[in-house]
């Protein structure tokens, strides 16, 4: 479980996050949605310490991450899988080396064992026959999937995915959503997913947080979204004709 308490974050004198509090539960897919530039990536980076929050506290299982020494933070980070919005694959390594990398660094497994695990993860994200390619030879969607495979290679206790299915076709997108949901429930992972994709929200959103102008504007389950009367959330969710249709049907 991760708890966010009254987080503020400013870049210079521009406040990006304003007094955000939320509880991200274990074994659940916690979704963060919001318009582009609303601070989603910034919030998640504050949670893992890639940005230092200007104010507020982050707790991992009731232990304050914000006040922790570097050494203890490192321990927690070894349990974190993180998918970056732009994938951030190591471009000097092949696909399979990227996925094997966390295993190489933190386990004593033999090369065969690591390779087997890497292949298993790559298969789970629907990516075969790309093992020997370098990141520069991959499409955006393929990079995303390698990023996810790398994030889950070490069986993390906390999984952060920054837009895991942006740039993916609908079919692969569903594959990824299902994968996230499955491993979250199976291994009791605390999963945090940033997404724009309403499909994913309705598919896997156990808990949904809507950021609006740097604030935690609304939160609830995916069922709650369909009945909300929060104006900003309605504007965000029902922007497309398709979603408007769904809403009409629902009523």
């Amino acid at each position: 479980m991760i708890e966010v308490r009254n987080i503020h974050k400013s870049f210079g004198d521009k406040e990006v996050l304003h007094d955000i509090s939320m509880v991200l539960e274990k074994g659940k897919a916690n979704l963060i949605i919001g318009a582009s530039g609303s601070g989603k990536t910034t919030l998640v980076k504050c949670m893992v310490g890639l940005h230092e929050a200007s104010q507020g506290e982050i707790l991992y299982n009731d232990r304050s991450f914000t006040q922790m020494k570097d050494r203890d933070r490192t321990q927690i980070r070894k349990e974190i899988g993180f998918l970056f919005q732009a994938s951030a694959l190591f471009d000097s390594m092949t696909v399979e080396e990227n996925v094997m990398f966390p295993l190489t660094m933190f386990t004593d497994q033999s090369k065969e064992e690591r390779l087997e695990r890497a292949n298993f993860c790559l298969e789970r994200v629907g990516l075969q026959n790309a093992n020997k390619l370098f990141p520069s030879e991959l499409s955006g969607g393929m990079k995303k999937r390698v990023g996810i495979a790398r994030a889950i290679a070490l069986k993390p206790s906390y999984l952060f995915c920054d837009e895991p299915n942006s740039g993916l076709d609908p079919l692969t997108s569903i594959l990824i959503d299902n994968l996230i949901k499955e491993i979250t429930e199976e291994f009791g992972i605390t999963t945090v997913v940033i997404t724009h994709d309403m499909n994913s929200v309705l598919e896997i959103g156990d808990k949904v947080f809507f950021l609006w102008q740097g604030q935690n504007w609304w939160q609830g389950s995916r069922q709650d979204i369909l009945q909300t009367d929060n104006k900003e959330l309605i504007d965000f969710v029902y922007a497309s004709e398709f979603m408007k249709m769904i809403r009409k049907k629902g009523q």
């Binding site: 890639l50 070894k78 974190i80 993180f82 951030a88 660094m105 933190f106």
Partner: protein, 234 residues
């Protein structure tokens, strides 16, 4: 940052592999350019000394002596270090800078790896290990090229040149040159890595960091060259 660089590596096997890769990319790959420059500079130093000492009072073997001293004391350790600051320095800064702006360094950090140690320590170690070899090769090539010029053109009788390069040889001069080399290797790799590591922004800033790496490592080399010379030779 230096403290983070010199913490114990996560895994010795991984460190060793990185180190070998860096020795290849920072050292072996520079051999070609070092050879070309050393040979041409050795020839030119010999010709210039010979043409400037056009007096019956100064013995011909002075040419060999001067070539040897210039190559060992200054040319090989300092000028080659400056060339390497350009080649290796920009390479290190742009590689690490690119990793910074594409969030690869953040990716390392989030995995619980110390990015400074993982990326920079192998580079510094590789530079400090391999550069003395490069410089020794450069010395031989420089002095050898002077010999070749004498043999080819008869500018100075070969016997005199050989006598000159053996005259008054002090092994301390070589030690002095190698001490400089090790210090310069440390400066090039650490200054460049620092500028790469502290890049922020995008591709444009990576270019800027790379330029800054070359400029600052060159300047620190010159300053330290002066300091070391003052301390060791006087």
């Amino acid at each position: 940052m230096l403290r983070q660089v010199f913490t114990r590596p996560e895994k010795v096997v991984v460190f060793r592999r990185q180190l070998l890769l860096e020795i290849e990319s920072l050292g072996i790959d520079s051999l070609g350019i070092i050879a070309i420059i050393s040979i041409f500079m050795g020839m030119v130093i010999t010709i210039q000394t010979a043409s400037n000492i056009d007096s019956v009072w100064i013995p011909k073997y002075t040419v060999g002596f001067t070539t040897r001293q210039s190559v060992i004391l200054e040319f090989s350790p300092t000028i080659i270090a400056l060339i390497l600051a350009g080649k290796v320095g920009s390479n290190i800064a742009s590689e690490i800078g690119t990793m910074r702006v594409t969030e690869q360094i953040d990716a390392l950090k989030i995995m619980g790896i110390n990015p400074a140690g993982y990326l920079i320590l192998p580079k510094i170690t590789a530079g400090v290990i391999i550069n003395p070899f490069l410089i020794i090769i450069s010395m031989f090539l420089g002095v050898g090229a002077g010999y070749a010029i004498c043999a080819l053109t008869g500018l100075v009788p070969i016997g005199d040149y050989i006598y000159g390069i053996q005259l008054d040889f002090r092994s301390f001069d070589v030690a002095y040159a190698l001490i400089k080399t090790v210090i310069f290797a440390f400066l090039i790799t650490s200054v460049s890595a620092y500028h790469g590591y502290h890049t922020s922004g995008g591709a444009l800033e990576v270019g800027r960091s790379s330029t800054r790496a070359v400029v600052y490592s060159s300047i620190t080399i010159l300053i330290f060259n002066y300091i070391i010379t003052q301390l060791l030779l006087i």
